[in-house]
């Protein structure tokens, strides 16, 4: 299959340069694809999709009664990241996560950063995921963000920017591991020639991270602490991932109804009575963790859990309250946070962000709605968003009214020309926009999974990569060695 007629159409392309030549890191892959006979790639693609469905590697679509399970579309053409570029991304992510963790710990203790006038107190207090219940809590090792899935994008200028941090309960890592399995079956010869860095050790690293925060007492009574993964249940959109990670780590997958708090400790209900739980990797939001601490109407949570956590009898990952830094207004201050806590400039830049509660910014945003992307400060999944250049007059008016009513809740950013990767569309390759979500673990130290989830907007011209909005995924290949000149 050939790339004849493939057009970069003026966009930054991850596989071809401006002149249309193959980038050196993609050379072997392109040669391999070109050597395939007609229809072979399409057959592989269909086989991969059948396999995903048969293995039940699916996500649930809310409000869809017809089956309600879909596969997350997968495209066989990977995104390749050069070793030296990855080295830079990794340094930038470690710096950023370290600063964010310092910030969250500061916010729930002395709030020095507020007192020193770097971030207005008002921004913190009005952040939707700020949790006053967490003031004074000291999570083990003072780590608040154990698992992070930072979204990165590359703009037309070639620069990689951080789009959002996703500190609360980031998902998608199971697709990284499953995509890689599919790719190894499809392109074994390319893997041999290229030295793609492996991702299979993620579950072991995740388990080590979780065990590292176990209460010290749990190491004495038995050889190893008991780690569980807490899921909202099989109707949650990310249920596949929950059971996948539990299975790969060899830990129990529990629901709230499997747990109980007694005498300040957390227990799970087993066929042989109660067993103590030491670490909970929770994949449910703060609000639903514990009806006594957060939402009293929640049926999902475990009453008393937060008290047990505060007493240090159980560890939670991620720490409740860390969503304060997921607020998109707080996001705008991350470069200043890095200067404040790390004494250095941010390695990975933020996307320039206008904060609508600043009068000057708001005026600019309202005058340029057709050029900007407007986002609600506390939404995710591509919801509550206006992409200016693709919007109608009516949509712009709707957002203008929303901004006027609640300026604190909106930010705006220039519309980025996200980079593209060739994608199999029918019988041709066409460029589609992508982002990249690496996964960062913070236990004893900070480690970054080499690669991450490359999400691709499968609709022509679309910039929205979310699975709920027509997005798919690609494997991400981080090369082990710098390319020989």
């Amino acid at each position: 299959m050939q790339f004849h007629g493939y057009q970069t159409e003026g966009f930054r392309d991850e596989m071809f340069d401006e002149s249309g030549s193959v980038r050196p890191e993609a050379k072997l892959l392109v040669e391999t694809i070109c050597s395939l006979e007609d229809g072979q790639l399409q057959r592989c693609q269909r086989a991969a999709e059948r396999l995903l469905l048969q293995l039940g590697i699916t996500f649930n679509v809310y409000g869809d009664s017809a089956g309600a399970e879909r596969i997350f579309p997968f495209d066989l053409i990977p995104r390749i990241v050069r070793a030296e570029e990855w080295e830079w991304i990794e340094r930038g992510l470690k710096q950023r996560i370290h600063a964010l963790n310092e910030f969250i710990d500061d916010i729930y203790h002395d709030q020095k950063i507020v007192k020193d006038g770097v971030i207005p107190e008002e921004v913190i207090r009005s952040a939707a995921f700020y949790r006053p219940q967490c003031i004074g809590i000291n999570p083990p090792k003072r780590v608040w963000c154990h698992i992070t899935g930072t979204d990165l994008v590359r703009h037309g200028d070639g620069q990689i920017y951080v789009l959002e941090d996703n500190l609360r309960v980031p998902s998608g890592v199971s697709y990284v591991l499953e995509n890689r399995e599919l790719m190894k079956r499809t392109f074994p010869q390319v893997f041999e020639g290229l030295h793609v860095r492996p991702v299979d050790d993620y579950p072991s690293n995740l388990l080590a991270t979780l065990e590292s925060i176990a209460p010290p007492s749990s190491w004495q009574k038995s050889q190893k602490p008991t780690v569980v993964l807490l899921t909202p249940g099989m109707y949650n959109s990310a249920y596949f991932e929950h059971s996948f990670l539990a299975q790969k780590m060899g830990v129990q997958l529990v629901e709230g109804r499997d747990l109980a708090v007694l005498d300040g400790y957390v227990w799970m209900r087993t066929t042989k009575g109660l067993r103590k739980v030491d670490v909970i990797y929770r994949r449910i939001d703060d609000d639903f963790l514990d009806p006594e601490a957060f939402r009293p109407d929640s049926l999902l949570g475990v009453p008393g859990l937060v008290d047990a956590y505060r007493a240090g009898n159980v560890a939670l990952a991620n720490a409740p309250g860390n969503g304060v830094a997921d607020d998109k207004v707080v996001y705008a201050y991350v470069p200043e946070m890095i200067r404040y806590y790390e004494g250095a400039d941010a390695i990975l830049p933020n996307v320039p962000t206008f904060l609508c509660w600043r009068d000057q910014d708001r005026r600019h945003v309202l005058q340029n709605l057709d050029k900007l992307v407007v986002k609600a400060a506390n939404e995710a999944g591509g919801y509550g968003m206006l992409v200016g250049p693709h919007s109608t007059e009516a949509q712009r008016q709707e957002f203008a009214a929303k901004i006027e009513t609640n300026p604190r809740n909106y930010i705006a950013q220039p519309t980025l020309a996200l980079s593209r990767v060739p994608t199999l569309v029918n019988n041709n390759f066409e460029g589609r926009h992508v982002d990249l979500r690496p996964y960062i673990l913070y236990g004893h130290d900070i480690t970054v999974l080499p690669g991450g989830l490359t999400r691709v907007a499968l609709r022509k011209g679309s910039l929205v990569v979310n699975s709920s909005q027509g997005g798919g995924s690609k494997d991400t290949w981080v090369l082990a060695d710098p390319l020989a000149k």
């Binding site: 039940g56 249920y239 059971s243 007694l262 209900r269 087993t270 066929t271 067993r275």
Partner: protein
């Protein structure tokens, strides 16, 4: 405590029901398959052949209300595809899959893939196929269920979780064998004096085929005789679908779960299973027939239902008083 993996009550419950639903799907498929075959040999009153299948499923009232008189097409529709009938093959596969999905980190990936593809295949079918491809359909469902069972035994560690799977399978099997025997015996009773006629032979052979027992019966008893058939299906110590065999292996699994020595009990459900097993160990077929087979099977059903409830109370239910259970777990 170390090295022994705890099993969540909710997970044990799902494993048990996953297995029960798979076994149920297999049995329904076999009943229908045998009946399809039978009607070629019995030209008389073909419609009358289908009502007993509904009676076996225990859903006679629901069926009558929704479909009226039983015939081949509406019985197959009801028992195979009807998603409102919770005991149809489709519903069973759906329920087995939902249960498997909620414990897929406990079962092997191969088990999950098997139950998932069976469900997806069934779901993708546009409706009832042409009559000539019906036998093949039920054959392939049976085969799929056998494969699931084989995969389970070959890929899942035979630890506590597996014993709950086996418990579900065995109790469901004992239940289905007793139902088919009850319904058919009742139906064939008037012809008891015609024992040995070809008509009778075919009907009784069909009962045996319904539980895949025809060939094994022949090896043991040779000629078809109702008394021997009851002996074989209720009492046989070695035939894997007999009630006795099923209850004995269920009893073994409960003991494997609890760690109580065989012949003793600590949990109420263990006691009930042991009682039933002992009774089957020491009953004779002639005593059962003297008492009346129908009465006997009726009481058996009641006992098996009590075991099912007992398992649920002893192992699956969220303990009403967690504190009491906590004390117990420290003791053990």
């Amino acid at each position: 405590m170390t090295g022994d993996t705890a099993l969540l009550s909710r997970v044990a419950d799902s494993l048990y029901w996953m297995a029960r639903y798979m076994e149920r799907a297999e049995n329904v498929a076999r009943f229908i398959g045998v009946n399809l075959n039978l009607q070629f040999d019995l030209p008389l009153d073909p419609a009358g052949q289908w009502q007993p299948l509904i009676d076996t499923s225990g859903d006679t009232a629901i069926f009558l209300e929704r479909y009226g008189a039983a015939n081949q097409s509406n019985v197959i529709q009801f028992l195979t595809y009807d998603s409102d009938n919770l005991n149809s093959i489709f519903s069973c596969l759906r329920a087995a899959r939902e249960n498997a999905r909620s414990v897929r980190e406990t079962i092997s990936s191969e088990m999950w893939a098997q139950v998932n593809s069976m469900y997806l295949q069934m779901q993708a079918q546009p409706g009832m196929p042409e009559p000539e491809s019906l036998p093949e359909l039920f054959h392939s469902i049976r085969l799929g269920c056998h494969m699931f069972q084989g995969i389970t035994d070959a890929t899942m560690t035979h630890s506590e979780a597996w014993h709950f799977v086996r418990l579900g399978r065995k109790l469901e099997r004992a239940d289905k064998t007793s139902r088919i025997l009850d319904v058919k015996y009742f139906m064939l009773l008037p012809s008891l004096r015609d024992v040995g006629t070809p008509y009778d032979d075919i009907q009784w052979s069909a009962v045996l085929k319904s539980v895949s027992g025809f060939e094994m019966y022949r090896k043991k008893f040779g000629r078809i005789h109702p008394r021997d058939i009851v002996d074989f299906l209720v009492m046989d110590r070695e035939f894997p679908r007999s009630i006795h065999y099923s209850i004995r292996t269920a009893d073994e699994s409960i003991h494997a779960v609890t760690g109580t020595p065989m012949g003793a009990f600590t949990w109420p459900s263990e006691r009930l299973t042991g009682l039933l097993r002992a009774e089957l160990d020491f009953t004779s077929v002639d005593q059962i027939l003297r008492e009346g087979l129908h009465d006997y099977l009726d009481k058996l059903q009641v006992k098996m239902n009590a075991i099912d409830r007992g398992l649920s109370e002893d192992f699956f239910a969220a303990a009403p008083d967690d504190r009491a259970v906590a004390v117990q777990s420290q003791r053990s």
